[in-house]
């Protein structure tokens, strides 16, 4: 094992990274009951330490290879060939960094947000972090599934306990949607594992082994479908996105930040790892359908955002639109499209996380999210307005900020792939500019709608501390995306190499589309 943890970094960095947050949560629950300042500090320390560790790992990370790094491997359940195997490539490393970064932000951002059962809230956030990191670092299908499902539980509680008025409905819907998709994926997992087991005589859940298994066409079709549906629900793609507005609107701010920032990315990450990794042939055939669904999501999400009276809902629907870009870019299967897609995930995590955080800060002051209740807020809250403008501009794709880089690369990719999709997707960008700027104008500029707002306090130091790193990252990626793209380069080429043999056979969309339907 060339990229074992021992050679690269000397200790089990990934396991430590994954379980450090949960360890913090355990210590908090066991020893810090009833002492808010202690457990909040512990939560912050745990998340900061995790973030620091993930950044430290970058120093040992080799960007020149698509191989999985910092690998750990030992036998877990021998009878089934299940191993505890972890490792990261450039894509998962970037996702891990996003997770650890946003977890710190979420914890600082909700420092005074919850009043009820505060300890449980911070513990849930930390357990959630473990689940998310685990999803991105697993190299064993069983281990991946465990993390994939386990992260549902803390999020379910975060929405259900600390959410808004319709939190129970939203939490249940969130759980059931994901769970229903996941269990179908479980059957598909079992099917591919047994197929390979019968073929090779040994059961294995090792992802890399299964990626090279070369499944037969009919298994590819059904396997792709089951995995894809599970991940599409998570992304969420049109038409299985309906849980998202409910979950986002009802979730507490930190929940929304993590949900938009990381959980949605797990869906796309799953597509990269499993749909493309296991079923390249079926993936290629499915491209036309994915493209059409993505483009619908882009335009539909943007159009719905345009008419939202509620700021949080607007940001939620804008996620549907932005994630449409991500899936569209991924399935172009050219370098720009894929790299843009993964980078756009990071960008969306930062920007939408920031927007949700800002809406949360506004809400804490005004107790309303209705756009019509705002207006002229730039006067009492100049600092907030400045931050808000940065994130809004980043989100609509202003050059110099990070949103532009990702969307631009995706559009290049789409253009190479098929012009019509690039044209329709551009429409989504125009709509995006419209709904974001219009929202900004209605909330920040103009006459003060409510004289009460004059007495509002501007962002305090802690709130600025929450937003400043997000703003900084937005600018850094906007002007200097090179290092980030460099991490993605080798894994992206690997993806292309995987699907290329099947791309060559299919010339037109119609041929691919009918080949996919042949699976029935």
């Amino acid at each position: 094992m060339e990229f074992g943890f021992a050679e690269q970094i000397g200790f089990r960095a990934l396991s430590l990274l994954t379980f450090l947050p949960s360890l913090g949560a355990l210590i908090m629950v066991l020893f810090m009951r009833g002492r808010p300042s202690a457990y909040k500090a512990a939560a912050l320390v745990a998340s900061l330490a995790t973030f620091a560790l993930s950044v430290f790992m970058l120093t040992a990370f080799d960007t020149s290879t698509a191989a999985f790094q910092f690998q750990e491997n030992f036998v877990w359940i021998e009878n089934f060939g299940i191993n505890y195997r972890m490792g990261v490539d450039g894509i998962s490393m970037l996702m891990v960094l996003l997770t650890t970064f946003l977890s710190v932000i979420a914890i600082i951002g909700s420092w005074n947000y919850v009043k009820d059962r505060e300890l449980a809230f911070f513990a849930s956030l930390l357990v959630l972090e473990t689940g998310m990191i685990g999803v991105f670092t697993s190299m064993d299908l069983f281990l991946f599934y465990v993390f994939w499902e386990v992260q549902l539980i803390p999020m379910y509680f975060i929405i259900g306990i600390w959410g808004g008025a319709r939190r129970i409905y939203a939490a249940t819907k969130f759980f059931l949607y994901t769970f229903a998709g996941s269990v179908l994926m479980l059957v598909a997992m079992l099917a591919v594992v047994w197929w390979y087991g019968k073929e090779s005589g040994a059961l294995t859940f090792d992802i890399l082994t299964l990626q090279n298994a070369g499944f037969p066409s009919d298994l590819q079709f059904w396997g792709f479908l089951a995995f894809f549906v599970a991940f599409a629900i998570k992304v969420p793609m049109f038409p299985v996105h309906t849980w998202l507005p409910d979950a986002h609107v009802e979730a507490p701010t930190a929940g929304s930040v993590i949900l938009a920032g990381v959980l949605l990315k797990m869906g796309v990450y799953g597509m990269i790892r499993f749909c493309i990794g296991f079923f390249p042939e079926a993936t290629v055939n499915a491209v036309p359908y994915v493209m059409v669904l993505s483009v619908i999501a882009i335009v539909y999400g943007a159009a719905v955002s345009l008419v939202q009276p509620d700021m949080k809902k607007l940001v939620a629907y804008s996620s549907v639109s932005h994630m449409g870009f991500v899936t569209a870019g991924l399935f172009t299967f050219n370098l720009q499209g894929i790299e843009g897609s993964v980078l756009q995930m990071v960008n969306h995590g930062i920007l939408t996380g920031a927007l949700f955080q800002m809406v949360g800060f506004f809400y804490e002051r005004t107790h309303t999210r209705e756009i019509k209740d705002y207006g002229g807020m730039a006067r009492p809250l100049p600092i907030a307005a400045a931050f808000f403008s940065l994130f809004v501009l980043g989100s609509l794709g202003l050059p110099g900020l990070n949103g532009f880089v990702g969307e631009f690369l995706i559009l290049i990719g789409l253009f190479q792939y098929m012009k019509v999709f690039a044209v329709v997707a551009s429409l989504g960008i125009i709509l995006g500019a419209a709904y974001l700027l219009w929202m900004y104008e209605r909330t920040m500029f103009g006459e003060l709608t409510n004289q009460k707002w004059l007495s509002l306090k501007d962002l305090n130091a802690r709130e600025i501390l929450t937003l400043a790193p997000l703003a900084a990252m937005s600018v850094v990626i906007g002007v200097w995306p090179g290092p980030f793209l460099e991490m993605l380069h080798a894994p992206s080429l690997e993806i292309i190499a995987k699907v290329e043999p099947f791309m060559a056979q299919k010339q037109s969309l119609v041929q691919m589309a009918s080949a996919f339907l042949g699976g029935f």
């Binding site: 259900g160 079992l190 099917a191 594992v193």
Partner: protein, 486 residues
Amino acid sequence: MTPQDLIPIIPELILVLAGLLVLVVEPFLKADKTANVAIALTALLISGAAAVGLSGREQAAFTDMIVLNDYAVFFKVLFAAAGALTVLMSPRYLEASGRHMGEYYALILFAVVGMDLMAASRDLIAFYVGLELMAVSSYLLAGFLRYQVRSNEAAMKYFLTGAFASAITLYGISLVYGMAGTTNYEQVGATLLAGGDGLGVALATALVLVGMGFKVSMAPFHMWTPDVYQGAPTPVAAFFSVGPKAAGFAAMLMVFLTVFEVSRSTWSVLFIVLAVLTMFVGNAFALTQKNIKRMLAYSSIAHVGYLLAGLGALGRAGTDYFAGEAVLFYLAAYTFMNLGAFGILAYLKTQQPATFSYSLAEFAGLGRRSPWAAVLMGLFMFSLTGMPGTAGFVGKFYLFSSVVKADLAWLAVIAVLFSAVSAYYYLRVIVYMFFREPEVEYATKEPISGPLAASLALSAAAVVVIGLLPSWVLDAAQASFGNFFG
């Protein structure tokens, strides 16, 4: 009979002697029944330990009526554990119900003996004797709170349907005897195989299947289950939901694999059809329940449905016993999570003996009132749903894996979709416990009784340990089949 013959039944001998001892000691005890609880508990632990000590051995006894092998050992240990956990959760509950009597513990011990015999028998008569011993003890246990109407109703319903089911099973057995001239599993199997499949075999298969179907509450023979669980004392309902069910499956697996080898294709299809029906009935009715005890009753029916899918897969898999191992593992996982869930119910009942009615509404705000009870109940609910990290997940993973392996992926899809449905009613308990505030004020709570706390802690520990490190139970389940058929 030789003295050697006694070795395979050492675990049962211990239990029988302890049961008799309980009855002898009982008249000398006043209100405090600690001595009898201790006797029963000790006997179950020694019995389980003795069974573990006997693992790896192969011996037939009593002219091949009873065997000792790892298959029997697996179930003997499981039944001893289920019995012990039940005993632990009983004393405070029975005191609160005003009927704390030593006979209760003797009946539990005798029921466990019956269950042990069902798993260890290699003869239809021995199997039937075990079945009846278990059943008669169960009828008495169901009606143990004899001044309560519901308990009486439960006993009566259980007795009538149970007697009916036993008679049907016996009729099937008599047909088999008529055709084969013997009651030994292997000999019957060989004779029937030589004679070929026919109407008589089909009829006998169907009769035994129906009779056992009653016992394990397979749809459409499940009607008695919710009423009996609701009326029976809660620890008894807990015991019913795992013990007799697991014993029924232990016997069914053996009987169908050996006696009815000839009609394998028939019963395999029957099990698959009935699995779908049972999953549907259990999950659909559980969705509508407002009473947690009834919800758990229907949920236990749903779990029987998943297990039946495993039996269907087993029937199609030839000499591959993977599905059988999965069924064994699932039974073990299910035992602990279900006992735990019922244990929480028993705890809540002891908190408000007069008023607690097991309704969902009474769970509102439990997360605040009794955080530990709520957290454990949450764990058991997630395990019953099949969330990773719990025994329930590994159980489902193993079971559905065996179904997929038998080329029944469509059946696995149906099963997981029903699991997704079940998530709704399990989560609803969590919603009430953590997301809602109590509708009424509750009196100050009493501390939990030590034994009940131990029962809950052990169940929870088992659920988590089997969920994270399942290998040792997996090995035991595999050894059970490996040694017998290997």
